[in-house]
């Protein structure tokens, strides 16, 4: 299987993200059992898999959640050891996680959190911090991407937001923080068809040669709107099969049990 991305990497540039043999446990229970994954610049990868296969764990470990214990393997991000960085350093280096369950922070306005985050990222990149006026102008522009009501910006972070509003808010944050690698953890879950379309349009609008994305999803339906370059199936804490977008369709037809029934040697070849 040859590696053909839609956008060829610039000469001499390694992959953006290289995960090798990553193992991780939570509460003493091993969830990831040797994950291998390579994401090049500008690529969109989908990670699919049954419940409990370790999809969300992978997303959280890449973002640096401390309650997960990395027990083996390595992760290179832009050629650097990602696992050595704190969660905020990863964020400032352009890694973004859209949460499956965005948390509520009472009394803290959405705008305030985003401005604090953006300016932390800008400081890190040696850019001038935005003042209130510049920031508001930026928000007015970005809010259109997810067709979000501006009133939500002034409300407390995720407090009283509907499920769809929370997910749109995550995409808005992604648009503002302008990440190099965006990991979207089940961004499609809990969305009705209209909200799914809006969120997908937002994701597509943010696709580009300078940004890679990893979509973690249980269902194929998001991939009808956001067409991935690569699809991987995670099962039992390992990537057991990889392919192009057709793999997702095949999965949809045959179900995850098809994967589990596959021969072990076939699984081993699933490595990308």
């Amino acid at each position: 299987m040859s590696e053909i991305g839609k956008t060829a990497p610039a000469a001499g540039e390694g992959p953006l993200l290289e995960v090798r043999g990553l193992r991780a446990a939570v509460g003493g229970k091993e969830i990831l059992r040797g994950v291998d994954l390579t994401v090049r610049r500008g690529e969109v990868h989908a990670i699919m898999g049954p419940n409990g296969s370790g999809k969300s764990t992978l997303a959280q470990v890449l973002a640096g959640r401390e309650s997960y214990e990395v027990s083996g393997g390595e992760v290179l991000y832009q050629g650097r050891d990602l696992l050595a960085l704190s969660p905020e350093e990863r964020a400032r280096e352009g890694l973004f996680l859209a949460f499956q369950y965005p948390v509520e922070i009472p009394g803290v306005s959405n705008l305030y959190l985003l401005k604090a985050g953006l300016n932390a990222v800008r400081r890190h990149r040696g850019l001038q911090e935005l003042d209130a006026v510049e920031f508001l102008a930026l928000m007015r522009e970005k809010v259109k991407i997810v067709a979000m009501d501006e009133a939500l910006l002034k409300r407390a972070v995720n407090e009283g937001f509907s499920g769809g509003e929370k997910k749109r808010n995550e995409i808005l944050q992604m648009a503002v923080l302008d990440p190099t690698l965006a990991i979207l953890d089940e961004t499609d879950s809990g969305l009705d068809i209209d909200a799914l379309r809006i969120v997908s349009d937002g994701i597509n609008a943010l696709r580009g040669p300078r940004r890679s994305m990893v979509l973690v999803t249980h269902y194929q339906r998001l991939l009808d709107y956001v067409v991935p370059d690569r699809v991987h199936v995670l099962s039992g804490g390992r990537i057991v099969r990889s392919g192009d977008k057709d793999l997702a369709l095949e999965l949809e037809r045959k179900g995850y049990s098809w994967i589990d029934e596959s021969a072990p040697e076939e699984l081993a070849r699933g490595r990308v």
């Binding site: 905020e88 985050g117 890190h124």
Partner: protein, 478 residues
């Protein structure tokens, strides 16, 4: 759980310096002689000396209260000096006559006494140990009939006002610490806003303890006559010392018909070190009397300092349709203890009160909300809303809530909400994933928690309070 929330590290107390100034401090000890000496030093009229002595004799019969949820070794009241004043020319006429060392002290504390005062537009009374050293904007306020001066000056210049209102809200025999204060108080601030006058600027008193082994016993009295409005700010700091120092103040507020008093405090007395050594015992009695119809008294406090805080700013809602408010943020870190809250006594008809208390505990801090809502028989249509929220950082601190309710009128309506939460690891991670450092994330979450109180503070104070909170929490997460 809460893995990022770990041990407390040290935090910096920015105001812990000592001003090298020659002071006149009387030897430690308390007796009628000492009280006569204080009264004589202040050249007080006879009535005041009698009032002090009466308070002292009553105090001797009283027992120190022990019901608060705070612990401290017995205080030796004979080891405290009850009067300490920087030596300076008697009654400086203008700032030019104030000892430059004192001016520098306030400059270091960020308190505008000189030219900055004009820019800041805040009138300040600066109390240094036992005496007021400067009051700004007196002339400008005077032209509107507003009296704003040190308590000593009020006694000299406006004895009839002092005599009429002193002790009218907090009687000399009210409680152990109020009685002690009444016996030995040395200075404080006095404000009188005449009928129908809206005070054009914030009035403020800045309290500074400097000398060692002294207590600070100041008394503040604010009277808003019919239809008057005033906003008053109070700030306080002290040097870092290993011994505990006692601060037993009394604040009395009187609001006549249609008058409004807003009283804001940012309390930042030295809290002691991270092992709990030293710090101020802040045992304070604050009470407002909504004497007139439609009057309103609003207390807002941000308590971040002191080793121990024992303080219940209260409102007696006597006038019909009068309003009492209490907004509080109390933070205890390291080994600080706070037992604070309010009393809302509803006497008049259709009186309303609001209580919003936010307690934050970190380290080994113990934070207690203690509040009473009392509806008397005649208070038809009285209403109260109480909300007490506690936030815990780490697992060695404590939050406690003791709400007392007494209802003597069946038409009263009371609401009480309470919550206790921890800063969630998920909230911290969310913020950090957006690029914020752990410390910034904690500050953000804590400030969000306190928002309902901060928005009651005057603008500059709100900014100050936020900064103070972040300094006080420094190092409270790993």
């Amino acid at each position: 759980m809460n893995e990022p929330i770990q041990d407390l590290a040290n935090r910096e107390y920015r105001y812990g310096f000592v001003t090298p100034i020659e002071s006149e401090t009387i030897p430690p000890g308390l007796s009628e002689e000492v009280i006569r000496l204080i009264s004589a030093k202040k050249q007080e009229p006879e009535f005041l000396l009698e009032w002090r002595l009466k308070a002292y004799r009553h105090w001797l019969t009283m027992v120190e209260p022990s019901w608060a949820r705070v612990e401290y070794p017995p205080i030796d009241y004979q080891s405290i000096s009850y009067y300490s004043a920087p030596r300076q020319k008697r009654g400086p006429k203008s700032l030019d006559e104030v000892d430059p060392e004192l001016l520098r002290t306030y400059e270091k504390l960020g308190i505008p006494l000189g030219e900055q005062a004009a820019l800041a537009g805040i009138a300040v009374d600066a109390v240094f140990d036992s005496v007021s050293v400067a009051t700004t904007f007196k002339e400008k306020l005077g032209s509107m009939g507003i009296i704003f001066c040190s308590f000593s000056e009020a006694v000299r210049e406006h004895p009839e006002l002092v005599r009429r209102w002193l002790g009218s809200v907090v009687p000399a025999t009210d409680n152990f610490f109020a009685a002690l204060n009444s016996a030995v108080f040395t200075d404080g601030s006095f404000a009188y806003i005449p009928k129908g006058v809206r005070c054009p600027m914030e009035l403020s008193t800045y309290f500074r303890i400097n000398a060692a082994s002294t207590g600070q016993f100041e008394r503040t009295l604010i009277v808003a006559d019919e239809g008057a409005t005033v906003s008053y700010l109070e700030g306080c700091t002290a040097p870092m010392r290993d011994e505990n120092q006692l601060h037993a103040a009394v604040v009395e507020l009187v609001a006549l018909d249609d008058a409004t008093i807003k009283y804001s405090t940012v309390q930042n007395w030295y809290p002691g070190d991270r092992e709990g050594k030293g710090g101020i015992y802040n045992f304070v009695t604050k009470r407002g009397h909504c004497k007139g119809a439609r009057s309103k008294i609003s207390w807002t406090q941000v308590e971040t300092g002191s080793a121990i805080t024992w303080k219940y700013p209260s409102c007696i809602l006597q006038g019909d349709d009068s309003i009492g408010e209490f907004y509080s943020v109390a933070l205890t870190n390291n080994f600080q203890q706070a037992d604070t809250g309010t009393k809302m006594i509803h006497i008049g008809r259709n009186t309303r009160s609001t209580i919003v208390s936010k307690g934050i505990s970190a380290g080994h801090g113990q934070n207690t909300y203690r509040g009473m809502v009392k509806i008397l028989k005649g208070a038809a249509g009285a209403r109260n809303y109480s909300q007490c929220d506690s936030l815990l950082l780490g697992d060695r601190c404590g939050a406690h809530t003791f709400p007392y309710v007494e209802v003597g009128n069946a038409t009263a309506q009371l609401e009480h909400e309470a919550s206790t939460s921890r800063i969630g690891e998920d909230q911290l991670f969310y913020c950090r994933q957006r690029g914020l450092s752990t410390e910034d994330a904690v500050n953000l979450i804590v400030n969000g928690f306190c928002k309902e109180v901060f928005r009651e503070l005057p603008m500059e104070f709100a900014v100050e309070a936020q900064k103070l909170l972040s300094v006080s929490l420094e190092g409270s997460v790993g």
